[in-house]
């Protein structure tokens, strides 16, 4: 959901909404769509949304990362170009959700309004709301260099490209609401799902470089498989990860594992109440 900027008109457009600025559509407009699938990388979304035979791209800016009022991941970008030989500008904002995304796509034909459109798309994107609440969330971390990942629902399973000859793997589960799942429950599950495993002491403290702290449990399976389970925490979520290898001290893979754990970032926080971020937004629309 986005707001209507003061003085702008709202028109239904397909399954979305078109916002028309004062002065009419000859100056441009901003289209909003939500629950768009498939979710795709920003580069693919840019290609999809800017594909327009009439708009000649002159310069593509850099993506600016944002988090929305609700703590959802988002990004905005500005594209300069021409339309029928006249200067024109596209602005795209996307809000990445669990299985879909929302897009805020601006088209400005008035060079005097380029900066204003860019700011408006940015603010609408940052203020976009979906009311998805506290839930299982993907979280950010750095990919283990040179490995590839499979998506397993919300989770990611990372393998070296020469797996299974190289027998290490890293599983990154979704962050889970701490009110419903505790770190101790996850460690207990790790112990009981491998009853033959030898546990190397109690979980020991570990930290990410982004302010999350937690513990690491090290298990050694009877077949010689090493297993490390880390659960990081903040006041809202637990962030579980697992490393498995036939050689628990395999230097390079263990170093990658450490790097992944250290790189874990917390799920972005909700930014206070949902009072509109943009003061010019006078009411909300779906």
């Amino acid at each position: 959901m986005i707001g209507i900027p003061n003085g702008w008109a709202r028109r239904p457009s397909g399954r979305g909404v078109l916002l028309v600025p004062p002065g009419g559509a000859a100056r441009g407009g901003i289209r909003y769509d939500e629950r768009v699938t498939p979710l795709a990388p920003l580069s693919a979304l840019l290609e999809k949304h800017v594909a327009d035979d009439a708009f000649a791209v002159a310069r593509v800016g850099a993506w600016e990362r944002l988090t929305t009022l609700e703590g959802e991941h988002a990004a905005v970008i500005t594209i300069a170009g021409t339309l029928d030989g006249r200067l024109a500008q596209r602005d795209l904002g996307v809000v990445l959700l669990d299985d879909s995304y929302a897009s805020v796509s601006g088209y400005c034909l008035d060079p005097n309004a380029f900066a204003g459109f860019t700011a408006m798309v940015r603010e609408l994107t940052a203020g976009d709301t979906h009311f998805l609440g506290v839930r299982r969330r993907r979280y950010e971390y750095d990919a283990p260099a040179g490995w590839q990942a499979r998506a397993l629902g919300f989770d990611a399973e990372w393998f070296p490209v020469d797996y299974p000859r190289a027998t290490s793997s890293i599983t990154v589960w979704a962050a889970l609401p701490r009110q419903q799942v505790s770190a101790s429950q996850l460690f207990e599950r790790a112990r009981t799902e491998e009853p033959a495993a030898r546990v190397y002491g109690d979980p020991h403290p570990i930290m990410s470089a982004h302010g999350l702290s937690g513990h690491e449990l090290v298990l050694d399976h009877a077949r010689g498989t090493g297993r490390h389970v880390v659960v990081l925490e903040d006041d809202r979520f637990v962030y579980p990860l697992r490393f498995e290898t036939t050689s628990p001290e395999a230097g390079a893979d263990a170093a990658l594992w450490r790097a992944v754990v250290e790189s874990v970032r917390p799920v972005p926080r909700v930014k206070g109440d949902f009072a509109p971020l943009v003061h010019s937004l006078d009411h909300w629309v779906e």
């Binding site: 580069s43 990919a143 590839q148 990942a149 797996y163």
Partner: protein
């Protein structure tokens, strides 16, 4: 998701591969044999081998439309893929196997992590 093979330029054979697909949990061997035998392909022998990386692969040699053909069905955990090499002669098929043996899964296109979505 697809099969990644070592690049090759040998004109004596051609290789095509399928997309990765789920492999059923039950009656897996029968299912693989059916995949290998699709389109009327008859083989003179089926062998269970492993790739250079250690992935299990079932290989069948035979002819399809009179052309020497080698089919391989890979199992990448719960996913599988069929590869077919065709050549003018059996010697070229042996060279094709050198390429087929380099197979590994390529998960390009999977969006498993936020870092991939921000790419």
């Amino acid at each position: 998701m697809r099969v990644h093979l070592m690049p090759y330029t040998n004109p004596r054979f051609t290789i095509v591969t399928s997309e990765l697909e789920p492999v059923p949990l039950v009656h897996t061997d029968e299912w693989i044999r059916r995949r290998l035998g699709a389109d009327g392909f008859t083989s003179s022998g089926i062998h269970a081998l492993t790739t250079a990386c250690g992935w299990p692969v079932v290989v069948a040699h035979g002819r399809l439309g009179g052309v020497p053909t080698l089919r391989a069905y890979y199992q990448f955990l719960d996913l599988g893929a069929l590869a077919e090499a065709r050549a003018d002669d059996a010697g070229a098929l042996a060279l094709a196997w050198d390429v087929l043996a380099t197979a590994r899964p390529d998960y390009t296109g999977e969006h498993a992590a936020l870092v991939q979505l921000f790419a």
